[in-house]
């Protein structure tokens, strides 16, 4: 483990398991997930709804809601194992070393307090400074995320601001900490495209200049291609493929990743849009073997029987597929995806 943690690695997640104990049974929302985040890099975490993306993020900061529980795994942040920290220690890590931006900015702001109040409160909590110093700092942060007229806006309540403005407030709050790790959970869903681009620019700028790492959760592959250096693909609680963005996008090896890429709309290539047949499996009763096999156009008997292991498939490119590992000899044809829906 020591040798794996080189100086570029900021976050090292090892064998993370987070389960939800529901009445219907155990949901393995995060199932043996391992990945690394490097300093100065933005890593995209993609997958359909229910694939375990958000729970992965919540597990890192140990804020999984009941009945969820982190069962097993290590999360090393800058040489510190977060899983062995006490809850009090975690409180000093959250909002200082790790910040989070949420999917629904307006829901993530307390409706009864002004936005200035909420930002300066977080600053005050962290710095232990006086109220007025924190308020000045909060207005500066609002100016830094390009909120016009920040002195006046600081006195506004969340319901008096647009969704884009609220998301800037969240970004200001998260970045005011100069965090080592920024977790952004679908921060641009629900924002219109121009605002989306501005928010992404803000995040990119801050991550690059501060040399921190960013885990960017999204289901939008276009955003990943534009913003991220590396990408992790999750399916039904497992990482099925990960590697550098350029590599994965030009040479996807896992059928699920291929399907995802094939199903994005592209204006530069004249091809019909395809979809991945079927839906995400029932979380309580996952398919045997490779969880993707019921939807996979290349599946064979082995895929139902045995779960594939993660294998190296090129430069830092890892994937979990029997065909890639060579246990099944078969060609994966790109046409399989377009034919499926034709």
């Amino acid at each position: 483990m020591i040798e794996a943690r080189n100086s570029d690695t900021l976050l090292d997640v090892l064998g993370l398991h987070t389960y939800f104990y529901t009445y219907e049974g155990v949901v393995k929302a995060v199932n043996s997930v391992s990945y690394k985040l490097n300093r100065g890099e933005i890593t995209g975490l993609v997958g359909e709804s229910g694939s375990g993306k958000s729970v992965t993020a919540q597990s890192i900061i140990r804020l999984v809601k009941a009945p969820g529980k982190i069962v097993e795994g290590e999360v090393w942040l800058d040489g510190q194992d977060l899983m062995s920290c006490s809850e009090t220690e975690m409180q000093t890590i959250r909002g200082r070393k790790i910040s989070m931006i949420f999917q629904e900015p307006r829901a993530a702001l307390n409706p009864l307090f002004t936005v200035g109040d909420q930002i300066s409160r977080v600053i005050q909590l962290r710095e232990g400074c006086s109220r007025s110093v924190a308020e000045t700092h909060a207005v500066e942060m609002m100016r830094a995320v390009e909120i016009a007229d920040p002195d006046r806006r600081a006195n506004a309540y969340p319901h008096e601001m647009s969704g884009g403005m609220c998301q800037r407030v969240m970004v200001a709050m998260a970045l005011s900490a100069n965090p080592l790790l920024l977790i952004a959970d679908e921060p641009t869903t629900g924002l219109d495209v121009t605002v989306q681009a501005q928010v992404l620019d803000l995040i990119r700028l801050r991550v690059k200049s501060a040399g921190s790492a960013c885990l960017f959760i999204t289901h939008d592959l276009g955003v990943v291609a534009e913003l991220c250096e590396r990408v992790i693909v999750m399916y039904a609680g497992r990482v099925v493929e990960q590697g550098p963005v350029a590599e994965i996008f030009s040479n996807p090896r896992h059928p699920y990743t291929q399907g995802l890429i094939a199903s994005t709309l592209r204006v530069d290539i004249d091809k019909p849009i395809s979809t991945i047949p079927g839906t995400v499996p029932d979380a309580v009763h996952l398919p045997s073997g490779c969880t993707f096999h019921p939807r996979c156009p290349f599946a064979e008997e082995l895929c139902q029987l045995e779960e594939p292991q993660m294998v190296e498939a090129g430069h830092g490119h890892l994937t979990r597929c029997h065909i890639v590992s060579g246990r099944i000899e078969r060609e994966m044809l790109e046409e399989a995806w377009t034919m499926e829906t034709a």
Partner: protein, 337 residues
């Protein structure tokens, strides 16, 4: 400034509401079967005399004219005379209302003071022993009828254990009430420094207050618990946690204010109802409040008294909701004038 504007607006809105209420109350006596004139006559009254009484009472005038005369009297504070107590209804109500007000207000304050923290603790320590105890209490509180609970408490706490005095009204039979300033015995005895009257009235207040408070406490605790749970599960609490806000601040600063919004309306509803007098409890504890007055007036068909009571109850209800609306306005910035 915003607040003043809001209060002024809400007060103006009360006018049509109260007018509507007055029309309904006025109609009661005219919809009910029977001629009120017969209440004033004997067996041997001649038709001429009946006509004269009808004229004297103004009952020969058209209905709308009668309404405006009645409304004018009400606005001057004249609710007519009760023929049962043969005193003015307004005086009767003024004399009795402090008893009801004192008992219900103390009971409500007790149930809020216990119910809110209990609900919060229940939510924060969900499924712990605190939660189980509080759920037990609330289950009892909502399932046990108040008359039974009242009698049980009298039996145990007065008859068996002699902790509290007998249910003989607001003050000991041998203790003279404090000089009347507000009509609230606790307040008046404190202001006049009448310690004997204070302890006696506090002791007499205890049993009805405990009974009422237990009944009201249960739903307040339940609502507070569910409201707090909902708020604690919300995105902004998760976000506050992700920002490293310590638990204590999460509960008392971020969550509590939001969680209080839902139970507030319920408390208003309960208080509005209670101020109209609790017929059952006032009877069990021989409490000389307006609930008992209303019951007695209905039994003897004392129309003026019933009308006066309903009018008072309606006005109190509307006032309580006015106060709650103003509280909402102060707490929740999303409400605009």
């Amino acid at each position: 400034m915003r607040l003043l504007q809001y209060v002024a607006k809400r007060l103006l809105q009360l006018i049509p509401v109260l007018l509507g209420v007055s029309v309904i109350i006025f109609s009661i006596s005219h919809v009910l079967p029977g001629n009120p004139v017969y209440l004033f006559v004997g067996i041997d009254t001649t038709p001429e005399e009946i006509e004269a009484i009808t004229k004297r009472l103004g009952l020969d005038k058209p209905l709308h004219e009668q309404y405006f005369i009645w409304l004018g009297n009400v606005l001057r504070g004249d609710l007519g005379d009760s023929w049962f107590t043969s005193e003015s209804v307004a005086q009767d109500l003024i004399r009795r209302f402090p008893a009801t007000f004192e008992m219900t207000t103390v009971a409500l304050m007790v149930s809020i003071a216990l119910g809110v923290p209990l609900g919060v603790l229940s939510a924060v320590y969900r499924n712990s022993w605190i939660d189980n105890i509080s759920r037990g209490i609330t289950l009892l509180g909502v399932s046990v009828p108040s008359f039974w609970l009242g009698l049980l408490l009298i039996y145990v706490l007065f008859f068996l254990l002699r902790i509290f005095p007998p249910p003989s009204g607001r003050i000991g039979l041998l203790v003279s009430p404090p000089d009347r300033i507000t009509g609230l015995y606790l307040v008046d005895s404190l202001v006049t420094g009448n310690w004997k009257a204070f302890t006696s009235s506090a002791e007499h207040l205890a049993l009805p207050v405990i009974t009422q408070a237990l009944v009201t406490l249960a739903p307040i605790t339940r609502l507070m618990r569910s409201s707090m749970l909902e708020v604690l599960g919300s995105e902004y609490i998760q976000a506050a946690r992700a920002n490293g806000v310590p638990d204590r601040q999460i509960y008392f600063r971020d969550a509590l204010r939001n969680a209080l919004l839902a139970p507030l309306t319920f408390v208003a509803l309960v208080y509005g109802n209670l101020l109209g007098g609790s017929v059952v409890l006032e009877r069990i504890f021989s409490w000389p409040g307006i609930g008992r007055y209303a019951l007695e007036s209905i039994v003897v068909k004392d129309y003026n008294a019933v009308q006066g009571f309903v009018l008072l109850a309606a006005v109190l209800y509307v006032l309580v909701f006015l106060i709650v609306d103003i509280l909402y306005f102060v707490i929740d910035p999303r409400i605009t004038a």
